[in-house]
């Protein structure tokens, strides 16, 4: 009898493990993703649902806008990654009080859950590492996790929320984890293009031609996958030397070389996601392209060796604007 119970318990535990492992797959299919049909397609729609602890996300959301987390209490995460500005700051560099600008353009916080590396040079493998950097960098939060925990500890509502979400309550680790959970929750599914891919919507003629050009000219070689980018590295200037043409070479332009110091990684950058790209001007790591059309033109020239006409660039830009998704059901 006891032995039987033991076996049953073991099977039950094993069963739980299997169920856990299968949940993401079920979530994907319940989000209406016809995996088989889209297999091999370069661009894949974003999943509509996520498996996240809503309590952790809620705490993270409060922390995200809390300036007490920064070293001088002047800035918060949203100072640079404003949700109203496409998850970035709308400027070519950061512009924070009493801080030097970050040497690269601020990337969007949206859809980071689907990026394979973080920062332009892909230095950070996990979101946690990226947050560690942001918390301590003099150009960003200029603080420490310990200080941030001390700063919010007197707030009893935080203590209660943390006690609810984490067995250990408010700690450096749980604070960072809550922020990670919130960042992961910042996804923008149901863009017009995703709806088109799912067969739930259509593209305008202009946008359709833009999509075809996007494929035909080869943009899609790098900007692919569910994040339309964000899953590989590519050299800025495959066909021609972008930096020679631009001039004024700065350390940040070396890209991944700064992380690996390997010659082959010189000018190598993480291919950015093109989702919500219309909301995240200016473009490139140096913030040099002010408009989407300008960015498309530059990319075509240096990455694909093509000179686009203004209408061609405009068509591709029109297609890119269909990649703007919805955050919590509302278009960005």
């Amino acid at each position: 009898m006891k032995l039987g119970g033991l076996i049953a318990a073991t099977l039950w535990c094993a069963g739980c493990g299997i169920v856990d492992a299968q949940q993401p797959a079920q979530a994907a299919s319940s989000a209406g993703l016809p995996v088989g049909e889209l297999r091999g397609a370069a661009i894949v729609p974003l999943p509509r649902g996520q498996q996240l602890d809503t309590r952790k996300v809620a705490v993270g959301e409060r922390l995200y806008t809390d300036t007490r987390l920064s070293g001088d209490g002047l800035v918060s995460c949203q100072s640079c990654h404003a949700l109203g500005k496409g998850g970035a700051n709308g400027e070519s560099r950061s512009n924070l009080p009493g801080r030097p600008p970050v040497p690269v353009n601020v990337p969007s916080v949206f859809n980071v859950a689907y990026d394979f590396r973080y920062a332009w040079n892909g230095r950070y493998e996990r979101l946690e590492d990226q947050l560690d950097f942001a918390m301590t960098a003099a150009a960003a939060m200029a603080g420490t996790w310990a200080r941030a925990v001390q700063a919010v500890a007197p707030d009893s509502s935080y203590m209660a929320a943390f006690a609810d979400a984490y067995p250990e309550g408010l700690t450096e680790r749980s604070m960072r984890d809550a922020l990670v959970a919130y960042c992961r929750s910042l996804t923008t599914p149901d863009s017009r293009f995703d709806q088109y891919l799912r067969g739930e919507g259509t593209l305008g003629e202009h946008e359709q031609r833009g999509y075809e050009a996007f494929r035909a000219y080869g943009c899609i070689s790098c900007h692919q996958g569910q994040n339309v980018g964000g899953n590989m590295y590519q050299r800025f200037g495959v066909m021609f030397d972008y930096f020679a043409d631009r001039g004024d070479l700065r350390p940040a332009d070396l890209g991944r070389y700064n992380a690996t110091h390997l010659e082959r990684d010189r000018y190598m950058f993480r291919v950015p996601s093109l989702r919500n790209v219309e909301k995240t001007a200016p473009y490139f790591h140096d913030g040099s392209a002010k408009t989407l059309e300008e960015a498309v033109t530059t990319m075509a020239r240096y990455q694909l060796g093509r000179e686009l006409t203004a209408p061609q660039a405009s068509e591709i830009a029109a297609f890119l604007r269909t990649l703007t998704g919805k955050y919590r059901g509302e278009p960005l």
């Binding site: 397609a41 661009i43 070689s221 692919q224 899953n231 060796g305």
Partner: protein
Amino acid sequence: MLRYTQALTLLLVLAFGGYRAWSWPRRVDSASSERYDQTLRSMLALQIELTAELMKTRSGLVSNYDGLVRIEAGLHDHAQRAQQAPRFLPTAAREQLRRTVDSLERARRATEELIETFKTNNAVLRNSIRFLPVAAAEIDALSDANPETRAYKQRAAALVRDVLLLHDWNDQAILARVSESLRALAAPGATDRLPAKQELSLVLLHAGIVRERAPVVDELVRRILSEPTPARTEALLSRYTVLQRAAVLRAERDAQLLFGLALCSVLSGSAWIMLRMRRTAQQLRVASDQLSQAVASLRVEQEKQRELAELKSRFVSMTSHEFRTPLSTIMSSSEMLAAYSDKWSVEKKEQHFQRIRSSVQGMTRMLDGILLIGRSDAGMLSFNPARLDLGKFCADAVESAVLACRADHEIVLEGPEPEPAVIADEALLRHMVDNLLSNAVKYSPRGSKVLMKVSREGQDVVLDVRDQGIGIPDADQKRLFETFHRGGNVGTTSGSGLGLSIVKRAVDLHGGSLALESAVGVGTRFTIRLPCPRSEA
């Protein structure tokens, strides 16, 4: 009692501990071992999936890198989990596994770097490949009118063909041909006079990229595929299986040892309890023996007390009767003599004097008997052997008895054989014979025969007295020799109950034995056997 309860509790605890020790290590094994094993197997499965995904992206069957990213992330997670070898493994085994996992992790990171480089190069390569058919179509659209253009067009078409072939086959001869074509077509001034110059230069650009990158990408794929991670993972898996099995065996052996210890404890505990129980039982038995002995001695004591009381009551009843009767006889005869002595004849007077005398004699005899018994109980009756003429002694005794019974009974003496003399105690012998003969006469009907036979058997003299009297009931025969005890069938016959008691004591003192045969209404026979050596003198 408390100690037994404690011992029993201890036994139960030990038994439970034994059971836990038996079941604990295996349960730990199955949970964490299963997880770890599953991690390694998933890792292997992902590594194989990675190979398939890599080939698909290389060939363009899959045109995004999400699959590779997902597999790489999975491998990264599994590698971290694989660092945590199950705790039930011995430290050395865990260290061994950790080293293997570390080398595997280095290989995984190297593979990951190769895959990143592959993705970067493959994206460029695929882009160029995708462009080539477009380029071919554009070249084809060129006019054939100009022979120079026609020649260039043919050359360009051949280049596109060769590049596409190169992409698929990666053959050295094709590579050489592509290189040659590229050099010729890209020669300075070669396209100066041609239309669609930009498209042509683009064709050359992409062809150059394919020529340059296809071997690079293929080399990367070859290196990734030749990375020994799956083989190492398999080795790790089998290594783990061996270690796990060893650990399970060791745990089972430990459990068996613990179980054995527990069993020993239980057995020794049980033995201890049983020994204690046995010892207690023994003590109990001894105590009960002592108790029963005490009860028995108490009963003996009680019996003595009862006998004493009975003796007393028998003495009282005997004396009240046996003294009062002669005393009243003496009283009445002496009063009548006093009142009528002047009127009575001499015979009449003599009759009453005789009654007084016989009463006094009877009482004297009885008192003698009581005194004799008293002396005997006080150890003052002694055995004093001396020369005795047995024949004369017997004849005297019978004669006295005959005189005493006034010839109411026929008393016959048979024996003894004439012999010089024997050594015996005449007084004791007199007590025996007188009492037996007087009893025989007293309890036999008038005129019946009493036979006394004296004979010699070896050193012993056998006195045999038998009568034809009322006999002695069986119930009384056992207690016949006790003081004051008389048979139940004596009726009004007077007697003290001392005679046989005296006989018995005399026989015992003389070192002889006394036997009795009797039947009620038939008669009684007493046989006395006395050791009486012949006198030498």
